[in-house]
């Protein structure tokens, strides 16, 4: 007898209005995006939405029965809170389907000012235990938590029974090694903060250098992050995916993690059984072509599982960072 599943929401990234329309057309149940400023964790040049674009996008998505979630998930430093308050005010006025928050002050402002505005807890809040999640639910009426990418499927299943809100879990895309919302490595090297400015490894501080022997060196600020021999696939320099040495490892090694992407397509049925309400695809910084291919593939996979069939997934390896993929922490805690 086939197992029955509750149909999960497929939550997809959009860095631009065009990408949002692409994601909706490819079968996204919900699309998440941010404004063109520090109020979200993908504050990259050329990315994100003006308020007018968000309004038009809400119209497009709602006409096709898709939701739009707005990420206001960074941490306003004192003296700049107004920018985040404006973002919350606009989100409430335009009636986004939910707002994704990380900062306690922002969550408090939103919950007190707009009690009807649905709040999701961003992965940036770093709530990795039932107790932490319950704290946020009690304090701000959080309806859904986006889980850190560090829990196994078994742990997610257990967590599900211990918290009063829905679970959203990442299934595909870039996987950062550090606890989200708790990493100042970019600020340490560049002076721009992931938490306060919404940037990770900003392009303006990235440098590539070829040497005479065909080796390619990548740097963030003054720090060498990696060095690739000719022909090696060179990754974008992020500190947590670089190669370093230490007294215990005098040969270069990936001290934190290898440059690989998360792909949980094989674990989809397990995640759906574990009680995950929403499956999230990372990649607001990625192209429309990428969004289209990944969303369509996961739309089909989820529909296959729902129909009782084994998910036949297209090969997504070519789209992953470094063209290598992992199930990260989700399969086993030996990853830690």
């Amino acid at each position: 007898m086939p197992e029955t599943y509750t149909r999960p929401e497929l939550v997809c990234p959009a860095g631009t209005p065009a990408a949002l329309r692409t994601a909706v057309d490819a079968g996204a149940d919900a699309v998440y995006c941010g404004f063109q400023n520090e109020t979200n964790a993908r504050n990259f040049p050329g990315l994100n939405f003006t308020p007018a674009e968000l309004e038009a996008s809400l119209g497009y998505a709602h006409a096709r029965e898709a939701k739009v979630l707005l990420a206001v998930n960074t941490f306003p430093p004192a003296g700049k809170f107004d920018l985040w308050r404006d973002a919350v005010d606009i989100a409430a006025r335009l009636k986004v389907d939910a707002m994704i928050v990380g900062d306690i002050g922002v969550a408090d402002y939103a919950a007190k000012t707009y009690p009807e505005l649905r709040l999701h807890l961003s992965v940036q809040a770093g709530a990795s235990s039932p107790e932490a999640i319950r704290f946020y639910c009690q304090a701000f009426g959080i309806k859904r938590v986006v889980l850190p990418r560090i829990l196994t499927v078994a742990e997610i299943a257990e967590l599900h029974s211990e918290i009063p809100c829905e679970i959203e879990a990442f299934i595909f895309g870039n996987i950062g090694m550090m606890a989200e919302g708790r990493c100042s490595l970019t600020n340490y090297a560049t002076g721009l903060s992931t938490n306060m400015d919404g940037v990770c490894s900003p392009a303006a501080d990235v440098h590539y250098e070829d040497d005479s022997e065909g080796n390619l060196t990548t740097r963030l600020g003054p720090f060498m992050i990696d060095c690739f021999a000719g022909g090696e696939n060179a990754g974008y320099p992020t500190i947590c995916k670089g190669r370093y040495t230490c007294s215990a490892n005098t040969d270069p090694y990936y001290a934190f993690e290898e440059p690989i992407s998360l792909n949980l397509s094989a674990l989809l049925p397990d995640l759906m059984k574990a009680g995950v309400t929403a499956l999230k695809i990372e990649g607001r910084q990625r192209s429309r072509a990428y969004v289209k291919a990944v969303v369509a593939a996961f739309r089909k996979a989820v529909d296959d599982v729902m129909a009782g069939n084994a998910p036949a997934l297209a090969n997504l390896l070519a789209l992953t960072e470094g063209h290598r993929e992992t199930q990260g922490a989700f399969r086993s805690k030996a990853w830690r």
């Binding site: 809170f81 002050g105 009690q138 304090a139 060196t217 720090f223 040495t245």
Partner: protein, 308 residues
């Protein structure tokens, strides 16, 4: 100046590294006897596997510190994930008779409605967050190490009517990231579960170098710290004027009693900043000083006092 300032003092953050339990105990005995600090934070904030190693000494260390007139605050675990983590966080938060410093969201649940402190590994960046946490019971907030002076000043200004004191780390390696994965174990080809406490080999952390041999970061279990030591000695008077009343030292193997004396001299005003700075420089810690975050610059950099 019309605003009444809180009395200022030097505090000692928790030992972040895996020190031998007896060395850990003796370190605090000496702090109790000799260091001019008002508050000492005790406890394992980085790894729940390490906690049982020092637990047998909590009582005598806390007693000795309190007998010396120092306040003792227990610091909670920063990355709470496994059953063991959760149990440890709950034990610390529900212990009778001690204040607790919360370092993650689970501690906020356990401590709700009771007086407590907020640790630097919590994200407290603005006045609205401080106000909310004060309503939850927070009396003291140690700000994240990456906060620039402009935000520290604005936060102090906007929270002066709340009954919350503001603390800032001014010495020691800067915590930059936390993870579920143990990088100490990884460096030795092990996992967190099979680590065999290899982190005990590095009492100031394991230094990582870039491939062109530049010292860069320091690994401490699931925590990543700066290579450089934060030194905000010259900035103490400015922080004091903003309204910061507590100045935190993060312990290293360097003579922390001497470090405490130097900072306490500047905080109290009896020791000139330049003389204090040259005394601190003469101690020659194993890595250079940095103060970049304070000036809104990269955290590894060293900036003259005129940079602000």
């Amino acid at each position: 100046m019309t605003v009444q300032q809180r009395p200022a003092s030097v505090t000692l953050g928790p030992v972040l590294f895996n020190w031998q339990p007896e060395k850990w105990r003796d370190f605090y005995f000496r702090i109790a006897d000799e260091a001019p600090v008002s508050t000492v934070y005790l406890g394992e904030t980085v790894c729940s596997k390490r906690a049982p190693l020092i637990e047998p000494y909590y009582a005598e260390v806390a007693e000795r510190l309190q007998a010396a007139g120092k306040s003792v605050v227990f610091a909670s675990l920063s990355e709470v994930l496994s059953r063991l983590d959760r149990k440890l966080a709950e034990q610390i938060c529900t212990a009778e008779g001690f204040l607790v410093e919360a370092n993650d969201g689970s501690a906020l649940l356990h401590l709700k409605g009771r007086p407590h402190h907020i640790g630097p590994l919590m994200n407290v960046y603005n006045e609205r967050t401080v106000a909310f946490l004060a309503g939850n019971g927070a009396q003291n907030v140690c700000l994240p190490v990456e906060m620039p002076a402009s935000a520290v000043g604005a936060l102090c200004q906007a929270t002066r009517d709340l009954n919350v004191s503001i603390e800032v780390q001014v010495f020691g390696r800067q915590s930059l990231a936390l993870s579920a994965r143990c990088y100490h174990a990884r460096a030795h080809g092990r996992t967190k579960d099979s680590c065999r406490f290899v982190c005990e080999e590095d009492p100031d952390g394991l230094e990582l170098s870039t491939l062109d041999d530049r010292k860069f970061l320091t690994v401490n279990g699931v925590q990543t710290l700066s290579y450089e030591y934060l030194n905000l000695l010259r900035e103490v008077p400015a922080l004091r004027a903003m309204g910061v009343s507590r100045f935190r030292l993060s312990p290293h193997t360097i003579d922390m009693v001497e470090v405490a004396k130097i900072f306490a001299g500047v905080v109290a005003g009896g020791l000139g900043v330049e003389e204090a700075a040259s005394r601190l420089e003469a101690m020659k810690p194993s890595a250079p000083f940095a103060n970049g975050f304070y000036y809104g610059k990269p955290g590894y950099t060293w900036n003259g006092a005129s940079a602000v």
